[in-house]
């Protein structure tokens, strides 16, 4: 207990220090707005990547759909704040609050009802949820028309800056929730696919989202999104405070989740799905839970991203860029939150910052030539990422990680029976780690 609270204390003090020092550097303009943007982008990438690390690094589900949920979050939040900033109308906020609230309630209600039906396949459940969500969305648009004037009046009575921050904060939460709800419905049938096919289906999802965003103005009537030309005029509200707050909450939530019985169930699915099922773990439920939480983080991050530059283009969400979070988590180490945090900031600083500054005049186009070379070298030299599975003490699980017994430990005086017992129950072969197990299937 004592040790645990000490590491917590160190973490909290560290977090406050990092926040304070960086904020001071920004305020005193020692770090210019160029670096401020990069650092905030790094924090946003850290939130997406922690979400993906939860899905892939901890639960072993190879997902390329994170970028699609990021895009959904970005555009949802941007549309809400855009309508408030430019039209002084809270219609986006009200409708999306209703959609997320009603759909969330409906999902909870249907889940309780459907749990009683034996033999309901994922696709049928998907159809039911999807129908419910579409109906509720129509209902929300209808109801929103009545409620909007009152809410708009209420918010307009507040000081402008305060109302802006309130709308922004709610928009970020709504963005996270809508991403989570969509991922719940999409995950139901798709998570039944095998590992690679799940990756391909989620890649398809990100591409579908990108194409929908390309046609957002012509086909769906969101004129302010301007389709493929990109959305402009989004208020720049993502301050270092907001990014840091959300990053902090995401890290703590992930850490607590992974240290709970939920987390052990999630990790056991990565280690061996069949064994986990045999131990009585509801594999489908936990896979979907992880997918939803990961996508929730992606939605939050997207909302924060949208308000950094005040500009959104569907090209940001194309399929090439969708590998960025995957690159970051592999770079930092699969299944390491510390590694993900370090890798996100390193990635943002190197790719957006140093490579722009260091490359000599006339060689700006070499940025994306140098970047893959660095990536290749990293993969060849450190295939397990920078940090492997190292964690700082606060994030580390209390349980010691399962390690195969090396031959030299036999000399250390461990009773032979214990070695034999652990050798027979050990699911991991010496050379294996979470991903190579999957590779050997």
């Amino acid at each position: 207990m004592n040790r645990m609270s000490r590491s917590t204390l160190v973490f909290l003090i560290g977090a406050v220090l990092v926040f304070g020092v960086t904020q001071a550097l920004f305020s005193l303009e020692i770090l210019t707005s160029f670096w401020s943007t990069i650092i905030r982008t790094g924090a946003v990438m850290a939130i997406v990547s922690i979400g993906l690390n939860l899905i892939y690094g901890f639960n072993g589900q190879f997902s390329l759909g994170q970028w699609g949920f990021y895009a959904i979050g970005a555009y949802t939040a941007a549309d809400i704040t855009w309508r408030w900033a430019n039209n002084k109308s809270a219609d986006g906020l009200v409708v999306m609050l209703l959609v997320t609230g009603l759909s969330g309630t409906a999902i909870m209600f249907l889940r309780a009802k459907l749990a009683r039906i034996r033999g309901l396949d994922a696709l049928s459940a998907f159809t039911l949820y999807l129908t419910a969500m579409i109906l509720l969305a129509v209902l929300s648009v209808f109801l929103g028309g009545f409620i909007t004037p009152a809410v708009s009046g209420l918010l307009q009575a507040l000081p402008t800056a305060l109302s802006m921050q309130i709308v922004f904060f709610l928009a970020v939460l709504i963005a996270g929730l809508i991403a989570a709800e969509i991922s719940f419905i999409f995950g139901l049938p798709v998570l039944t696919l095998g590992s690679d096919y799940f990756g391909i289906a989620t890649l398809g999802f990100s591409i579908i989202v990108k194409v929908l965003l390309d046609n957002s103005d012509t086909m769906f009537g969101f004129v302010e999104m301007k389709g493929a030309r990109g959305m402009v005029g989004i208020p720049r509200l993502t301050s270092w405070f907001w990014v840091f707050l959300f990053l902090f909450v995401v890290v703590v939530v992930t850490r607590n989740l992974l240290r709970s019985s939920y987390g052990r169930a999630i990790i056991s699915i990565r280690e061996d799905e069949i064994a986990a099922k045999a131990m009585g773990i509801d594999v489908a439920h936990y896979k979907n839970l992880t997918f939803v939480i990961g996508s929730l983080f992606a939605g939050l991050a997207g909302a924060l991203y949208a308000h950094i530059n005040g500009f959104l283009s569907p090209n940001t969400f194309n399929f090439i860029r969708s590998f960025d979070p995957m690159i970051i988590i592999v770079f930092g180490g699969l299944g390491s939150i510390t590694g993900t945090l370090a890798a996100s900031f390193t990635w943002a600083l190197v790719l957006e910052g140093f490579l722009r500054l260091w490359l000599p005049e006339g060689f700006e186009t070499w940025r994306y030539v140098v970047y893959p070379i660095l990536l290749l070298l990293l993969m060849l030299l450190k295939p397990k990422g920078l940090f492997g599975d190292y964690e700082i003490p606060f994030l580390r699980d209390q349980l010691p990680p399962l390690e195969p017994i090396a031959p030299e430990r036999i000399e250390e005086g461990i009773p032979p029976a214990a070695i034999q017992a652990s050798a027979t129950t050990m699911p991991v072969k010496p050379s294996d780690n979470p991903t190579s197990q999957e590779a050997s299937e």
């Binding site: 033999g119 159809t127 798709v190 398809g204 579908i208 194409v211 186009t365 994306y368 290749l376 295939p383």
Partner: protein
């Protein structure tokens, strides 16, 4: 797991019976399929000639996708790696053939050597040599990539190899975009032969003049479509022969089936993997030239979307299966053309991927895919 036969606790109404038969999900998918079918039937009734025209265009596109898809499916079948750099090898093939034609006049070399021959022989032999050049360069490129980037990671976690593939893809694209390589601009591809279009209508086959394009009472097709289809079929048959009848093909199948045992049987596994990469890349090189002939505007990023579509085609047909790749590619070609024509042109990529997801839900390993089996 969903087909438990445990008795339903409540009374078994029609609704619950339907759920036990997985009726709801099926009905959803069937209704989507029926809507698509209905759109197509209406289109056929409205203008059957236009529909056939779209089908012909779709076949042409489908065969190009098939050539690219084969590289994905062979490599995946043998090393379980989604080789994202494959689409960029396709781009390199297009550029090599472009340079072969415009810089080196390679399509006319026979005319310079033996001036007396008829023009069609000269151009035919010349075009074939351009394709062969593109195929050889792509095969060599892919061999080098495999040796440098993928081979050291053979025993690493699979995700490392995947990230490496993405890195190689980035590298090829952005290196090609440099000013002294392929430049970042769109370049017009010069066809090695003149375009000839025919129209099949009620009064037989007519030859169309260059300017006379908008005829609505017949199916228009060009020698481009014929060349693409015929050369793709030749390459596919060649590949089928190599894989099924030769020693290398037998070794490839053995390695794909079980690597350690193949090694024990004296097969040079690393060599076979390199050969597989090279064969797949040479098909992509040929596809690059054929694609550039059909859509004569080439750029450093041209490989991304066709590569992705071809990959989807390979998955659709069952990744690892050669006939599956062909069928999947033809379906993708049709889906893309028909949805562009009758549903929504800007949304065609979304429709293609929706089809992919639906097929995966119905048949989780693709149309021709074998159910995944446990390997030691």
């Amino acid at each position: 797991m969903a087909t438990t036969t445990a008795p339903v606790p409540r009374s078994s109404s029609i609704f619950e019976l339907a759920i036990k038969k997985r009726w709801l999900g099926k009905a959803f998918l069937i209704s989507i399929a029926l809507i698509a079918l209905w759109r197509i039937i209406i289109a056929i009734q409205a203008n059957p000639i236009l529909f056939l025209q779209q089908v012909v265009n779709g076949i042409q596109l489908g065969f190009v996708y098939a050539l690219i898809a084969l590289g994905y499916t062979m490599v995946y079948g043998i090393v379980r790696l989604i080789n994202f750099a494959h689409g960029d090898v396709f781009m390199v093939g297009a550029f090599i053939s472009f340079f072969g034609i415009t810089r080196f006049q390679l399509h006319l070399w026979l005319g310079n050597v033996a001036p007396g021959l008829p023009l069609w022989v000269t151009i035919g032999v010349g075009s074939v040599s351009v394709v062969v050049l593109a195929m050889i360069v792509c095969a060599w490129l892919s061999y080098v990539i495999e040796r440098i980037a993928y081979k050291p990671l053979r025993n690493a976690p699979r995700i490392s190899a995947l990230i490496t593939a993405i890195g190689v893809s980035f590298f090829l694209e952005y290196f090609a975009a440099l000013q002294f390589v392929f430049t970042p601009n769109f370049i017009t591809f010069k066809r090695p032969f003149p375009v000839q279009t025919w129209m099949i209508g009620s009064n037989g086959i007519q030859t169309l003049a260059e300017s006379q394009e908008s005829a609505s009472n017949g199916i228009i097709f060009s020698n481009i479509a014929l060349i693409i289809i015929i050369s793709s079929i030749i390459l596919l048959l060649l590949l089928q022969y190599v894989v099924q009848k030769t020693r290398i093909g037998k070794a490839m199948r053995a390695v794909a089936y079980d690597k350690p045992t193949a090694r024990l049987m004296g097969i040079n596994v690393d060599g076979i993997i390199s050969v597989t990469f090279a064969i797949g890349a040479s098909l992509a090189g040929a596809a690059g030239m054929l694609y550039a002939i059909a859509y004569p505007s080439i750029v450093f990023g041209m490989g991304i979307i066709p590569g992705l579509k071809a990959f989807v085609a390979a998955v659709l047909g069952g990744i690892g299966s050669i006939p599956g790749a062909l069928i999947g590619a033809l379906i993708m070609g049709q889906a893309e053309n028909l949805s562009a024509a009758y549903i929504s042109s800007p949304m065609r990529d979304a429709i293609a991927f929706t089809i992919l997801i639906i097929v995966l839900l119905v048949r989780p390993t693709g149309i021709f895919g074998e159910p995944s089996r446990e390997k030691a």
